[in-house]
Amino acid sequence: MHDLVIRNGNVVDGSGAPAYKADVAVKGNRIVEIGEITGAAREEIDATDKVVTPGFIDPHTHFDAQLLWDGCAKPALSHGVTTIVSGNCSLSLAPLKAKHRMKLVGMFNQIEEMPLKAFEEGVVWDWETFSEYITRIRKDLAINVAPLVGHSVIRLWVMNDAAMERTATDAEIAGMQAVLRQCLEAGAVGLSTSYVDMDERLQPVPSRFADAREIDALASVLGEFGRVLQIVPEFYDADLTIARLDQLAETSLKHNIPTTFSPVFLNADNVDAVARVMKRVDEQFARGARVWPQVQTRPIDISFSFAVPSLLFIRFPSWYHIMRFGTPDDIMAAFADKDNRKKLIEEAAALAPLWPNLVFRHGKTDANQKYIGQTLAEIAEQRGTTPVEAMIDLSLEEDLDAHFLASGMGHNDSAAVGGLLNHPHVHIGASDGGAHILSFSTYGDTGYLFSHFVRDLKAMSLESAVKKITSDTAAIWGIPERGLLQPGYVADITVFDPATVKRGEEKFVNDVPGDGYRYVRDSHGIETVIVSGAIAWTKQGGYKDACGEVLPGPEAKTVAA
């Protein structure tokens, strides 16, 4: 008898092959049969009119901290994501000596917006080595985790404070190689590094002090294991990105390793730059290098409040001047002053195209809670005023702690982004799940892929989209036996309704340890999520017992059911 049979579904197996009607049978943690299955099972799922696919793999997340109190990486699992890659951008929580803990907390706070109180109240620091961290998170894991080890933390481990000051000596590089080797043996999927990020003092993170020979030495260790190198290049400058991409290609070829870089995104004014980057990617692939650019599916939103300077109003000198040079009291006074207010409103009239996209997303007063999620145009209509005045009034009522969102301000040319996502060398990812938690929601990108690019725009087929986020991702990251629905593969499976799946509405929730908040999206159209043969989440019943694994490390494999 099978443990689980998913019946009457439309199977999209992750290979890119056309969908077909079939049942999928699971025994233990494996798929054992796909076809017409007549025998009974201990548990059955009716997937009529639904799509049955491999579980989605998210290659760019920062769930390292959240996994310490939430083994489901909520809400990622509910969106059909069964495997996450953590530890991106040179930052992981291991290996980490006790004396460096607060340094890492500072970096996670600065770069990922993880509140300090979340660490104080949500983390029991009972590890130092990578192996100990893996043991720690594995206890409650419901989602699979392929953890990268961060270059910055390896530097800290070996060089201590000098990691943030200088290049490494030969002995220190040898020390870092030894530590990386231990991490890979303990199950790390690869190494991440960054040429961009800043720490909590707005100084370069440790990885940025590395010279080329250090990167080469660490890549040689990755080569011993065939594991991945992830980097954040100087993505704000096309020429630097291409130069870094060329270095990455040489590293990939020399050490025979896959590499990936992120982010690559399309704004109206950098289309040519992205075209140049992709042309070079193609050239390097033609040479045999593996240099996968990660591209996100969701558009980029700009979030702002008048408590912090923002360039959003830079074309309006009066606004920019008070935001840039005014104290909070100055800004409040300018908003309240009748003459100033008139001037600001007149100047902002030229922003008319922006108003339909401006949303009030967070305020602290009870009176304004009813407006959350509405556009300023909608709020203005209810208040009998104009959108600009509504924004000013809300800011005054909230002591400037009114948060607004300008949605779809970048990476929003659907035709161009759809074309990019379809590119054979583009790696769909860069969700940043678990990061930027106080700025925007980093969940539901897969739902957005299916609703916007597959269903609405028909920019890509359902089969191609599924392949991109399952078997392609597994192949790039060297994750065996996942990413396809076929007998013998591990049963990571997502069942969803292709007619209704979407990323869900954004909401601000109070579920971070230390009474903290974050932006999330509830999944929509996802029916059932199965991890390693066990039902991990259902639309009706929510999250289930833990069954996630650490991938692809040999130590982790011994834990498999």
Binding site: Q203, N270, A273, I300, I302, M409, H436
Partner: protein, 82 residues
């Protein structure tokens, strides 16, 4: 490269969900490349070009952009005791 100038300035959405300024540099041979600047770099760039509006940056030399980027990234260097 000495004759490279700012040829276009546009507001841009950044990876981190903040507003940035995309400055296009045009080289003497006609080639162009975009460079994204954060809020701090833009402030320095505006001051250095004595510009009150981003459109007034068009035509200014690329060296202003270089210096603004450098000043922005170095703004907290060597002040570890803060």
């Amino acid at each position: 490269m000495s004759g490279a100038v700012i040829s276009r300035v546009q507001l841009a959405a950044t990876h981190d969900g903040e507003a940035g300024l995309m400055v296009t540099i045009r080289f003497e041979n006609g080639g162009e490349t975009p460079v994204a600047l954060d809020e701090h770099a833009v402030r320095i760039l505006l001051e250095s070009c004595r510009a009150e509006h981003p459109d007034q940056l068009v035509g200014r030399g690329w060296g202003h952009v270089r210096d603004a980027l450098e000043a922005s990234s170095n703004r907290f260097m060597n002040s570890n005791d803060q």
